[in-house]
Assembly symmetry: none
Homo-oligomer: 211 residues x 2
Amino acid sequence: MAENYSSNVLDLNLGVGNGSGQVGQSLRPRCPAPFLLKTYDLLEESGDGGSGGKIVSWNGDGSGFIVWSPAEFSELTLPRYFKHNNFSSFIRQLNTYGFKKISSKRWEFKHEKFQRGCRDMLVEITRKKCEPSVFPSYLKSSSEENAITSNNSMEENNNSHQLLMEENKNLKKERLELQMQIAEFKSLEMKLLECLSQVMDNHQNKSRGQC
Amino acid sequence: MAENYSSNVLDLNLGVGNGSGQVGQSLRPRCPAPFLLKTYDLLEESGDGGSGGKIVSWNGDGSGFIVWSPAEFSELTLPRYFKHNNFSSFIRQLNTYGFKKISSKRWEFKHEKFQRGCRDMLVEITRKKCEPSVFPSYLKSSSEENAITSNNSMEENNNSHQLLMEENKNLKKERLELQMQIAEFKSLEMKLLECLSQVMDNHQNKSRGQC
DNA sequence: GGGAATATTCCC
DNA sequence: GGGAATATTCCC
């Protein structure tokens, strides 16, 4: 295991802690997720035609990247940037950040905001929401797009106020969705109880009828 | 970094997947959390008086353990068992599993179920996470507490920011409560479905027996 | 591909 | 000490 990227200082630079109070995922962080930076830099560092064949590289137009040799990539590249050497864990992260596998024949991945020469664009990439996952998928609503469309027109100064208001709005929207889900659960619970009651009644009747 | 304990096979053996299609934390897992096993084994492996002074060991009666040298422990011991060498991350895990620091003078920790010679007891130790345990009392939603408790003492027009932050905090608290309610509902739903299934099975069997 | 658990990190 | 985010793993 190497030590440049595995150093702890670089490992987690979470996008929280903006200013005074606290905010979670609804505000855009000032710096990209460590995973994205590492993956990007890993591509920049590769490519310089080394000795053997390429292990991983940008694709032709820099709109995505290709893992040419998953085996070597896992054994040699991954541990230099991450705390593991599992290709599947790397893939899991790609999926978490919304990358798409765009070829069935080779390990080529794309993300709209992940392009060669656009390291600054990485900040636009966010983890897919995993709302504490308490509800079944069939009740899941589309509370996506908390990504803030902040017009860069108004800069620094006090956009923290704007951000707070934005977050506030999102929280209220989320609250509404949660309340609706709870309503659905209540309805579902009643149906289930009703069903249970019927089945038991039915059972009772048959038992009586046959005694 | 060594490789015995860092091997992936041993890393995560989650306590889920019991029997049919069921739930994690309500059923006791068959094997302790990896963190506990590693910490226990690390203590067993130490102690054999090596060359220098002890780095970490059980305490006198085996009811807890002591990290004698945090620096060496972090640099030498931790990376052999975990994917890091940060003492604070180790402490964080201890807290997660309910260990207590029982001395202000040295790094001595205890957990009722973590004792020398009782490796089998580790399975009793669980994470302190938010178990949606059966039916607690957070079903009392704080729907009205959004009325902000503004102390009229501060009356600068700048307090709108404060108010926003306050409301924001309350919204997040409310969100958590709603999510927990949803967790309760989900648990309830599963219980109802299970119950329904049993009743119907029972019904089926009786019917068959009487035809 | 993604849900969910544990692990690691950062912050209060 | 603990909340919460990201990382890693396991499983479907």
